[in-house]
Symmetry: C2
Subunit: 380 residues, 2 copies
């Protein structure tokens, strides 16, 4: 119910080269995206949703041939949902370097005729945002009503506000941060090391060997997953529950939490690309818009024009409320219009994907305000 | 200075079989240990130091042929140090299953004539404590002035107080816990998975293949190491410092924290045994003395007779102060004599190994009291 229903992924090809922050050039490329709702006549009701590490353009609804494949933010986006598709024209976009359709490491490198693999150039949050802006150009959308994302998606929303200040009215960044901590980088590093040292990785050219670095991906995902959940939530859900009721004195699955992590690791390794994992975690590491300003986040936001909604979750130890507070302070210093909330939710970083009532009520109220302030006022 | 100086590891062989908690039997075995200071006439000044995951019997001093190989708690144990070897006879012991000399996975399995490898039976904290008590028997020590340890070593001290209540006057458990949380188990699990899925692990029989699962051990240690350090400390020490001053846009070492973790991982994989890592992390997982009492830790400590010193560190997110508070509460419920402290130290779990002044002053004061209360009073 209240689903956007059946959706179809779309594709946009770009013939002009994209020069990346690294200096590398992607000659031509394709972006995959989905849209929900109707673009209004003056193209002012568009909302761009940016995805996080393991998600895609498939934000809401389901596919005709995959009725179980529900979009990753289906609880947030749809008719009557917090981001209401009867009001807004919502775009989900898949980033370059991903493994869900947009040009990425498993696609053919025109220079060699073989898959890019490990030779796919490193892309940054800012590169993604530039590519997204080019898609917006092709769709004839100059200014978004909002650019929105959680976690790495939130970084993209923040980058939009700095790179294209006049192209968004609202920036909505949830469970995000303006830079990774040493601990965040450390977890990404270990996950990458698990992949890079898997003999089946073949220096990133495993496609040609007909194998997948399953063990590395599995360990990487397990590490990631631990950081997505709160300690409390994990204790409440799994505690020290035993699979067999008593110790088996071996190295098989003893505890329910092990079983859960193995399942998550295996599922992930069956669909996610190892090169994409490396690329995206590096993009996370690199994001640090204050760096060119000597670490001064206030200066980094100096040109921002949009209004902001910033949301964090008390039990998120990956990007904790302090990370969001630093952003809020920088925006206050710039006298931006800000709404912010620290939501006391038990689910850790993953809370941004769940439908906690207070969280969804907040997003709903914020988008109600965007709607009434901007569109109803114009209409009346 | 103030070192116990030159030390020599000793060896004690046991011909009688040890039946383990799992039901497995070790036919005969050897324990390696070191001693510092002099045992007094009535053998009442002995302090047993139990080691944590990657340590050994080599608690203090150095070896004639390895002057750089300083004991792991050399800052704590020595003449004039918090545990003063001019007063106490201190014993460091290496546990069964370890890779530092006591009978373990790389030793010959008498049943096959080959190294035990993966067939070495799983040992628990309680098994270690029983073996330690048999060593004490051979040394003619019935009652320890104190049994002491940090982290997993603290678990052994706690187990002593429950299993052999009349054989210790004081139990000193630092940065420890009465049971692992789901998150603790999850981290151990991922570390083990990295080892178990390393092709060089050969199901635990890598010795015969002349290889070592270096990649698995390396990833395991990196994961562990992240959990030993506090987020704050890591941020202060490494922050987002770059190796080359600017992004290299690759998957080599970019950040100083990566360099540090790789160094730690490589060092560890060069000396630590993979089967031992598996065994010891499982012993950590299994420790849960309240389990037989329906999770009631108060009942688990019902027979404890010793006095207790419990120390935790505010930034330890592996075994945080709450874990210690649960132990303190159970001991209060049993009306035990307790001293406890939560020390506001920045160094996370590793703080128990460092010489923070408040921490060492506390341990010193506690052992002063043991000395004056017990021995000076007797002497006067």
């Amino acid at each position: 119910m209240n689903s956007v229903g059946l959706v179809t992924a779309r594709s946009m090809h770009f013939n002009d080269p994209l020069t990346l922050q690294s200096g590398a050039v992607i000659g031509d490329y394709t972006l995959i995206y989905e849209t929900y709702g109707e673009l209004n006549a003056d193209k002012s009701n568009a909302v761009l949703i940016c995805h996080a590490l393991n998600a895609s353009h498939h934000v809401a609804g389901y596919y005709a041939d995959q009725p179980q494949n529900i979009g990753w933010w289906d609880n947030m986006v749809g008719p009557g949902k917090p981001v209401d598709t009867t009001r807004f024209f919502v775009i989900g976009i898949n980033n370059i370097g991903s493994c869900f359709g947009s040009t990425g490491p498993m696609h053919t490198n025109p220079a060699t005729g073989k898959p890019y693999g490990h030779h796919f150039p490193l892309v940054t949050v800012e590169d993604w945002v530039r590519a997204q802006s080019l898609l917006a150009d092709k769709l004839g959308i100059y200014r978004f009503a909002a650019v929105m994302g959680g976690s790495l998606g939130g970084m993209q929303a923040l980058a939009w506000s700095m790179m294209f200040p006049e192209r968004l009215a609202h920036c909505v960044a949830i469970a995000s941060t303006a830079k990774l901590t040493a601990q965040n980088i450390a977890f990404n590093d270990v996950a990458r090391q698990a992949i890079l040292t898997d003999p089946d990785f073949h220096e990133g050219h495993f496609y040609e060997h007909g194998v997948v670095p399953v063990n590395g991906l599995r360990v990487a995902r397990m590490i990631g997953h631990i950081t997505y959940l709160s300690n409390t939530d994990m204790s409440e859900k799994f505690g020290r529950e035993l699979r067999m009721g008593q110790y088996q004195f071996g190295f098989g699955v003893e505890f329910e939490i092990e079983s859960y992590l193995h399942y998550q690791g295996e599922k992930f390794s069956s669909y996610f690309d190892a090169n994409t994992y490396l690329l995206i975690t590096r993009a996370l590491d690199y994001f640090d818009p204050a760096a060119p300003y000597g670490g001064d986040l206030t200066r980094a936001f100096a040109n921002a024009q949009s209004a902001f909604l910033l949301v964090s979750f008390t039990t998120d130890w990956r990007f904790p409320p302090e990370s969001t507070r630093a952003i809020v302070q920088a925006l206050i210093n710039n006298r931006r219009q800000i709404s912010c909330a620290e939501i006391d939710a038990p689910h850790g970083h993953d809370a941004f994907l769940l439908d906690d009532k207070r969280y969804h009520d907040l997003i709903r109220a914020y988008f109600d305000r965007i709607w009434f302030d901007t569109f109803k006022r114009e209409a009346s």
